[in-house]
Amino acid sequence: MSLPSNILGVLGNTDLDRFDALIIGSGAGGSAAAHVLAATGQKVLVLEAGDNHFPGLDHPGMIPWPLYSNDEIKMTIRRFDFQDPLVEPRTFRQTERDVARAHPDVNNLTRNVGGAAVISSVSYPRFTAIDFRMASALQDAGRSYPGTSFADWPLSYDELEPFYAETERLSGIAGIAEGEGADPFQSSRSGPFPLPPQPEMYAGRVLANGATQLGYHPFNYLSAVNTRPYDGRSPCVSCGLCTNYGCARNAKGSPAVTTLRKALLTGNCQLRYNAHVSRLMLDSARRHIVGVEYIDNDGQTQTATAEYVILAASPIESVRLCFLSDPDGPSIGNSSGHLGRHMMFHFQTIGVGIFKQRLHGERGRSITNGMADLRGITEGGAALRQDWPLGGVIEFGTSSEPITAARESLQPQALAFAHVVGVSFKQLLVESPFHAHIAVMIMHGEDAPQPTNRVDLDPTVRDVFGLPVPRLTYKNHAFELDASTFYKPKMLDVLEAAGAAYGFFDPFDPSVPPTSRHIMGGLRMGSDPHESVCDAWGRFHDVDNLYCVDGGLFVTGSGYNPTTTIIALGLRTAAAIVSPAGPERLLSAAPPQSLGIHTRPHVSAIREYYRRGRPFGTRAAH
């Protein structure tokens, strides 16, 4: 069957036809790897399953305006970017004994050029020193949790620090390194943040005020949002519709407009979008990938080859590809039996404060304030905090989207409730207690790795291509549930000190799959091939030319947002591929190209896009 395929999908150098590297996924990890490889002369092919909403991204000169906008119907209600469960479902169950059911949101991420970070709040803190040796720390403290699979990472914070610094420089992180407004629980840094801190929004200020009164240390959240012109991109104007929205003015330093764009501009990189990789092709010895098969926008199967292949499809899809690619064998990378296991998502505890005044979530950046006092670690991320469980960083947020707020908070049960006390639907819409008056504390609690929490293939449900879909088996451990219970009263205290009239928590329902969008594990890295899928450099133990650079590598989940670490690992793996002897030496100290004020919006590309009725930017950029 044919459908309108009025979208051709190539960016970058269209003349390339032989490639050194083939990267599956253009998100945080894939784009980071593409940047390093293309900059060092490797010929890179990136295959992206989603569409491109940055017409002219490969155009030299000013960065063009994207197709993103302050449009709640497009971005959130109709999910412009998200993987669509009607054509690509996933299934979920809590334990092996249950039958998995297809569910519309099994922690689905977006599929688009630049990946999920494009529409995220681009909150980019680092992990801390203790996160890389959590198993040892817990053991030394005499804390044991049966059923968990904590392990130390095969690298230390200090080894990753230069790559963290490079990530922050590439993405343009705004933050305060030390003193008031800094996060005292972050570990030592080799330098300051490249950008000055964010202007606070009202709800963030209100909650930070409460936290300060209780002796906590709220900090200016670390975000890749421009606070001045940086790297040819304009500063943020605090338009308000931020999380779930691609930035209309490219003020978010997401992978698309930073690392990926740099790669495309080298002339060494070609990106094909709407290209859904369906299989990795193994040689007969099962030790070498000879190429990949993908399905293009016409539904036709194509093949692509390269010297080596880098998986960066985000953990659930990367694991699925490994299973799909060797249906008759042991699956790619699964000699240890650990493929798809130890999945982690962060256990979110969401405290909602309702305030008497309007907090105007419709303006301001997504997350400008937060606190890590309830992370359960000591200053500098050096040790476990005695007597406190491991929690997570807390983001101070609010509600910026009126339709979403109405749909989520005005469910039939709530309305029936409201009816009893004589509150009409319209009154709830107009007085807006669950939207205009809320400030929200979102704790990204560390969830324990468990071998039973895993991704494999569903035996019955298939996607629109006829391929088996990922099946998630996931049940929370007492480790994170107890921590959440422990910290909830402390979070309520913050809401009270901040002046809230009411405080409560989003109810937790274990029968519903997690929707944290922080997806980690499944392709765990480690030194021992019997206990891990990938080695300390992201290369598969079982396959000599296959690497992973997405969150799948994570050994433990920390309690901080994961993207910075994904990018840092991607840079590090790519640097090791081209310079095995000294990957750190590849990091240049030079400032990003084309620093300076972005005075002229590059409108011609987008005008062209609409006028010509076909994508712009397929020209080669040499």
């Binding site: 009025n6 051709l8 005044q357 301001g364 819409l429 109810p507 011609s604 076909r614």
Partner: protein
């Protein structure tokens, strides 16, 4: 209810004199048609020139009454004034592929292209006009294209800007903004921009464009509009038939017919003539899934960006105190002259409350409701705090 035949797929296709005539009528009347449905009484305008919208006049009358029952008009505007019905008609009328000439606008030209079986030679648009995707452009495509071309709103409106807000001048000087146009003086001196260093340059309204759908999204929207049966590829995906927001045309056709049937059976009158209490009783007897769907779409129709057909004159946003899209102006306007500093809009400060706001809180019954919610078992350990206060707002 009048008998309707929305999808006469079986109709044999011939480019009859009548059809050609209609096409010309349509072309001439296109401007009038763009006015679209404004109130039930006006819906006949499109009927008069023979264009088949998806929802019929009778259905629109029922739908209008039903959305007005969910958010009634009182001293404030309700769903009716916001044009919620236009939003729903615009959504149900959409069909992937109806942009037959692939110019990212739906217009009479697409209908001509479909009726004449024209296909664009461009490789980027090779299936234009084959709306139902069966490989040929035929009568069924014309039927789909008709409602789509005249009533459909974008599934995904374009970006990045709506043209409702100016460029902050410190960032993007006018002389370099070739796409910007000079706005009328009165727009520049509005309260929203008073005291803010802007030039009166407004970008074009990109929201009026359609972003074309790649293959997977087109398939997905077929499932939403026509149901899983229309897309054989998803036979092994139970979600395609389980999810509420699929098969929307059938759900609306059946759901609105059921509302009328219940009204007639219970009260002997059409739904629109019932009292509010009677309408509530009809809603209680109706399919709860349809009521939920209708509630969702009513909220969407009131609070969407206006380019989707609803939120007429931005009345919905005004009702709930939402300012809508604000790009490229925003709320914290970077000042190039003092590195790292921002201007605020005096009426809409980024860092605090509006100047005219108080700390009065909620009406009594909302307070009662919130007390129950915060102490309900589900949300333990929720609390009602004893000393709420407002930062930066005088008591």
């Amino acid at each position: 209810m009048r008998e309707t035949s929305p999808l006469p797929r079986a109709a044999a296709f011939e480019l009859s004199r009548r059809q050609l005539l209609r096409l010309f009528t349509v072309g001439a009347g296109a401007t009038a048609l763009r006015l679209r449905y404004r109130a039930p009484a006006l819906a006949n305008t499109s009927r008069a020139v023979g264009v088949s919208s998806f929802l019929t006049t009778d259905e629109l009358v029922t739908l209008d009454a039903a959305t007005a029952h969910i958010v009634p008009t009182d001293s404030n505007v309700g769903a009716r004034e916001c044009g919620t019905v236009d939003y729903i008609q615009g959504m149900l009328s959409f069909m992937p592929g109806s942009d037959a000439n692939c110019d990212r606008h739906l217009s009479a030209a697409d209908l001509s292209a479909t009726v004449l079986g024209l296909r664009m030679p461009s490789p980027s648009c090779r299936d234009g006009g084959d709306v139902d995707g069966n490989g040929v452009v035929d009568a069924a495509d014309v039927v789909f294209a008709e409602s789509a071309v005249f009533d459909a709103r974008p599934v995904y409106a374009g970006g990045p800007f709506s043209g409702r807000h100016p460029q902050p001048h410190v960032l993007e000087p006018s002389r370099n903004c070739r796409a910007c146009h000079v706005a009328p003086v009165q727009q520049a001196s509005s309260a929203a921009t008073a005291g803010v260093p802007t030039l009166n340059y407004y970008p074009p309204n990109f929201f009026e464009e359609h972003v074309p759908l790649p293959r997977l999204q087109a398939l997905s929207w077929k499932i939403r509009i026509l149901g899983a049966d229309a897309v054989p590829e998803v036979v092994d995906n139970p979600l395609a038939s389980e999810v509420l927001e699929t098969d929307l045309r059938r759900r609306y056709r059946d759901g609105l017919a059921a509302l009328e049937a219940i009204s007639q059976q219970q009260f002997g009158k059409p739904f629109v003539q019932l009292t509010g209490q009677q309408q509530t009783s009809v809603f209680n007897k109706a399919d709860p899934d349809f009521v939920t769907l209708l509630t969702y779409h009513t909220v969407e129709g009131m609070l969407c960006t206006p380019e989707y057909g609803g939120n007429r004159d931005r009345l919905g946003w005004q009702l709930v105190g939402f300012d809508g899209d604000s790009q490229p102006l925003g709320y914290a306007i970077y000042d190039e002259s003092v590195p790292g500093s921002y201007h605020e809009r005096p009426d809409r400060p980024n860092f605090g409350p509006n100047p005219d706001e108080d700390c009065a809180g909620f009406s009594r019954n909302i307070d009662n409701f919130l007390t129950i919610v915060s102490q309900a078992g589900l949300t333990q350990p929720g609390r009602r705090f004893s000393n709420p206060y407002c930062l930066d707002v005088p008591k």
